[in-house]
Symmetry: C2
Subunit: 350 residues, 2 copies
DNA sequence: GTGAAAGCGCTAACAT
DNA sequence: ATGTTAGCGCTTTCAC
């Protein structure tokens, strides 16, 4: 039934199909695009001709006239200036968080025949490459996941006029929609849980404080602690990595040897904290309760499994894609924020 | 100097630039594409006109005539039939391995202005979507990372005539280039290391045996053990996940309570094995030596840090991209295999 | 060294 | 309901 493999060059065109089917290019185009008002008999004739020729529409030609690329830029952005390790991509994906974002985004995009192009903007140079890419009309829109509050990319994207949606509230105000989590609420949940567990010498390992999510989780945590009468909570700043969690935990143990509760601003750091605590002979949760954040894979692989504040990352990724799609399809141009609620997941670490 | 933000629609075209610069479209095109034989004076006039208008070449139009998309499909492929969890993407990136592949690929592609489109082909339906995408000429080539030996995708891709390169030797022979690791050699290294450590009751946690890499690591491991006189090595099959490593370890401990050496076919499983061993009071490496495979992030975050067989994944990803690029640029069409050598990294777990 | 013009493959008015 | 036609924005002979 179907034809020989087509060499990419000299692939059959609408013209070829039209000739075989004995109709005009326009009619074939209508059939291909599912436009009504085509005689059923002709329709099937065209379909036959399509399989006979092995025709597939040429994306560039179609894009040129429809002004749609069928492509979405999925950009992971840092705030770096000149230098940044060459392993940015690998480091990014070392946090299970990003894989989940991608999963959510792809889940929305795929059924709609939109394809994500993966871009990294970790330095000035690469940032400009992303802008150049967007300015070429290569993508119909951009989904941006920033790793820093000071990220200059969103503002640059606004200038291009390309529709974009952010993951997380931008540090520098820009008129773009974003999805985010109620981080403070999450911090509050962690604090109250620790308190309910009867912990009284509580410390926290924060995220990088140049990341809004890190800030906000800390703020919410502190506020809840203050509301219960604790004015000061010893803390150490981490970098959302396992190693930084270990280091922070070591420091805090030195500072507060009799601590009995730890809130880490993500699971990776909580896992690091657990490792250090156990190394030093503290039993979890008997001696120390540990609460993480994200509910990523790290939470369940950690020993013991982590009590954590769940972030519905996949849903957030999907929503981000939906917002962008809506905007591309001509929806309202006003920036919109969609806030998700965190959920406390109690496991064995607390 | 530079102009107003351009609304994407009605973006300036070559024509506009030509008018402003007082030259023809052809000349502007030459300047933009860095073709020589353009008077320096005219060149700078054109450049000025370009910044004045805020011109950026339209990718679709360019692609249509050059027959180059400037895009590479980066497809992660499974062998699933109908169903497969919706979280395929998230699961894939849960293994640090893929992030490293992406890092290597992007490192090669980016300086060449090639952009990776992320595609997942885990079911029959999504596989056909990938094929359809490729047939549209949407990408100049495909980079395929298969998770199963029985993956039907490579063969389907060959039919499209689109250049492609695989990560890992395909289970079903196809005329495509691939990069791979000398997995058997790696298995051998692990065995010899364990033996040198004086271990005599050694077991192994294999990868999924429907993955060639899993098979080969096991084969190499067994051969080396046999060469040293051990005919049979107790083993349990894992799924390259941490949880499967734990489960396998539990089973093996029941089967061989006095075991003193473990080779796990990847770091994630080795990490799981370590957790179980410690839970059961075995000290690592005093009582039991553990060796992993990959040298992924898991190897260093594991307690204790893992001795492992390093796979130069980033370099392999970059080489895969290079092979594809070469092929796209008209290099030899014969399939080529590039084999990388593993390296034993000794840390504290053995 | 530069311009004129053809045409890449497709969609969308417009005409019939 | 179908065909004709005019571009979409660009590169690339081919003249000059």
């Amino acid at each position: 039934m179907s034809r020989e493999p087509q060499a990419r060059t000299g692939a059959p065109t609408l013209e070829d199909v039209a000739r075989v089917a004995g109709v005009s290019r326009a009619t074939v185009s209508r059939v291909v695009n599912g436009v009504r008002n085509v005689d059923p008999a002709i329709q099937s004739a065209v379909r036959e001709a399509i399989t006979a020729t092995g025709y597939a529409p040429n994306r560039a030609a179609r894009s040129l006239v429809t002004r749609r690329a069928g492509t979405i830029a999925l950009v992971v952005s840092g705030a770096g200036g000149d230098a940044e390790g060459a392993d940015f991509a690998a480091r990014v994906f070392a946090d299970p968080f990003f894989g989940r974002v991608v999963g959510g985004v792809v889940g929305y995009l795929r059924p709609r025949s939109l394809h994500p192009v993966l871009l990294f903007a970790e330095t000035d140079v690469t940032r400009e490459q992303v802008i150049a890419y967007l300015r070429q009309g290569s993508a119909d829109g951009a989904l941006v996941v920033s790793t820093h509050a000071a990220d200059p990319l969103p503002a640059r994207i606004v200038e291009t006029g390309v529709p974009a949606v952010l993951f997380a509230r931008p540090g520098i105000p820009v008129p773009l929609s974003y999805v985010d989590l109620a981080h403070r609420e999450g911090g509050r949940m962690a604090a109250e849980h620790l308190l309910e567990r009867g912990r009284s010498r509580i410390v926290t390992i924060t995220g990088p404080l140049d990341v809004l999510a890190g800030q906000d989780r800390l703020t919410g945590f502190r506020e809840a602690m203050a509301r219960r009468g604790t004015a000061h909570v010893p803390f150490a700043e981490g970098g959302f990595t396992l190693a930084s969690g270990e280091e922070a935990m070591r420091g805090l143990l030195r500072e507060v040897p009799d601590l009995d509760g730890v809130f880490a601003a993500n699971d990776l750091m909580a896992q690091g904290a657990c490792q250090v605590l156990r190394e030093q002979g503290r039993r979890i949760p008997r001696d120390v309760s540990v609460v993480g954040f994200d509910d990523s894979a790290a939470a369940t692989t950690c020993r013991p499994p982590l009590t954590t504040v769940r972030q519905p990352v996949e849903a957030m990724g999907a929503e981000m894609a939906r917002l962008l799609h809506e905007r591309i399809e001509g929806g309202p141009a006003e920036a919109e924020a969609v806030l998700f609620d965190p959920e406390l997941i109690v496991r064995e670490s607390s």
